[in-house]
Point group: C2
Chain length 277, copies 2
């Protein structure tokens, strides 16, 4: 098959790497440096322009989430009936709303492969990034059956675990708590420590004390995360409010040396162990 | 040498494991289950009672930090001049203050090996836990030169990187930001997500999205962390205040869709990459 990938970042580039084993992969990216890197790393066989997309079998949209809806919409405007389009963004409600009444809605599939690292760009591309990871599919009922089957066939070699979550808004709510809040807590932890620690050596020396893993996400790219935070504003603000409320309560408990309350809160939170193991 | 380790948890037990390669290690722990596990795992050759400590060459205090100062003080009261005592707790000011004027102060060394996992108890003991990790030594000027040398000789096979930080209060301040705040941010992230996510499956499915690494520390034991938070209250409250203030500002920026401010904050925080890599 002929596959075009729009956006050759960590996710787009890593998909290109996997697809190019069995298919011909073309790249579209308006960053010239990324174009060259993708060619050098042999992620794609050729860089093409947007007006060539109607020659493809599959089009992947892997751009920052503030661009996704418009890009998908203009692709649908342009392509013949045989082509499957899917996106891979971390928010799903916005793109689903935008194409809701498009006559070619059934050629589009909204997906969210939950995979990544804190790095970005074509050079961050990782082999087997998707193996055994979860892939959330939203509004599958709105996609033509044969297009969904084509997608599943295409993704089979990547060995992902499919989770179907019909309601895109529900996806965005859950991901705000489990993923986006994690990123904000990590960015703000990094910011707080950088502000107080003028001597970088101290951070480095003490990083092994838990800081390093908790602050890992604070290395993530602003180009990816700024649009996510703004687009998923409604759910993120709720999550942040709860998080700050919990922090303030815990702070009061430390202030008042409420040993039992602190102990019980930690003990209860340890439940996360059973869920994740 | 004969070494007694008081407190056979993750750190005490892992030290026992290392020391028993070259020395005879005795265990003291008032938890009978932990006593038996330490024997079964051959971490120690024998469990002894506290009144046998004056027969040792070295005594390690690896108890929760709210017990450390009293335990070290009563050891110093009891032991002859040849014995070295050191503790391994995550706070250093309290124990240093307590023994400040003790006539045997110079037999004591305040250490903080920065190593650990989110697990606890003798069963959590890990081989080579300390290799290449940082070991912070406070108030080394208050310890007899030959005792410090004995300590360094004893620790040599563990291959730790020594960092000398004379001022115990400075240690506690820095560790509040870099370590203790990380733990609180992680506990509260776990709490917030557990409260909103009644369906554990959703957490599990989305955990790969950054949550898993950020929440790792929320698995840590309440017996270890409750006394640390209370004992290092002063510095932790400052750190928490800054952290909450940063979260509130970031929340306002999302609320007002301040794209540029969000972008710049993330970009600036990415500096953590250079420091930790």
């Amino acid at each position: 098959m002929k596959i075009a990938i729009i956006g050759l970042g960590l996710i787009g580039g890593s998909l290109a790497l996997e697809f190019s084993k069995n298919h011909t992969v073309f790249g579209i990216d308006n960053n010239q440096e990324h174009q060259q890197q993708a060619l050098d790393l042999r992620l794609v066989s050729k860089i093409i322009s947007f007006d060539k997309i109607d020659l493809m079998d599959v089009i992947v949209v892997a751009v920052p989430v503030d661009k996704t809806a418009d890009v998908v919409f203009s692709i649908l405007n342009k392509i013949p009936k045989n082509i499957l389009v899917f996106d891979v963004g971390s928010t799903k409600e916005n793109v689903c709303k935008k194409v809701k009444n498009h006559p070619k809605r059934n050629q589009f599939l909204a997906t969210h492969p939950i995979a990544g690292t804190e790095f970005s760009g074509p050079k961050a591309t990782v082999k087997n990034l998707f193996t055994d990871k979860v892939n959330i599919i939203c509004e599958q009922s709105q996609t033509a059956k044969e297009k969904l089957e084509l997608y599943q066939e295409l993704m089979k070699p990547l060995q992902m675990r499919f989770v179907f979550m019909e309601n895109a808004s529900q996806h965005d709510k859950h991901i705000a708590y489990v993923s986006h809040l994690s990123h904000i807590s990590s960015f703000m932890l990094g910011k707080t420590v950088l502000e107080i620690e003028k001597e970088e050596e101290t951070i480095f020396n003490m990083a092994g004390s838990g800081f390093e893993s908790t602050v890992r996400l604070a290395k993530s790219a602003p180009t990816t995360w700024t649009p996510i935070f703004i687009q998923n504003k409604k759910h993120i603000l709720n999550a942040l409010e709860e998080y700050i409320r919990n922090l303030q309560e815990f702070k009061r408990n430390i202030e008042n040396k409420e040993q039992e309350k602190i102990y019980n809160t930690i003990k209860k939170t340890n439940k996360i162990k059973e869920i994740l193991n």
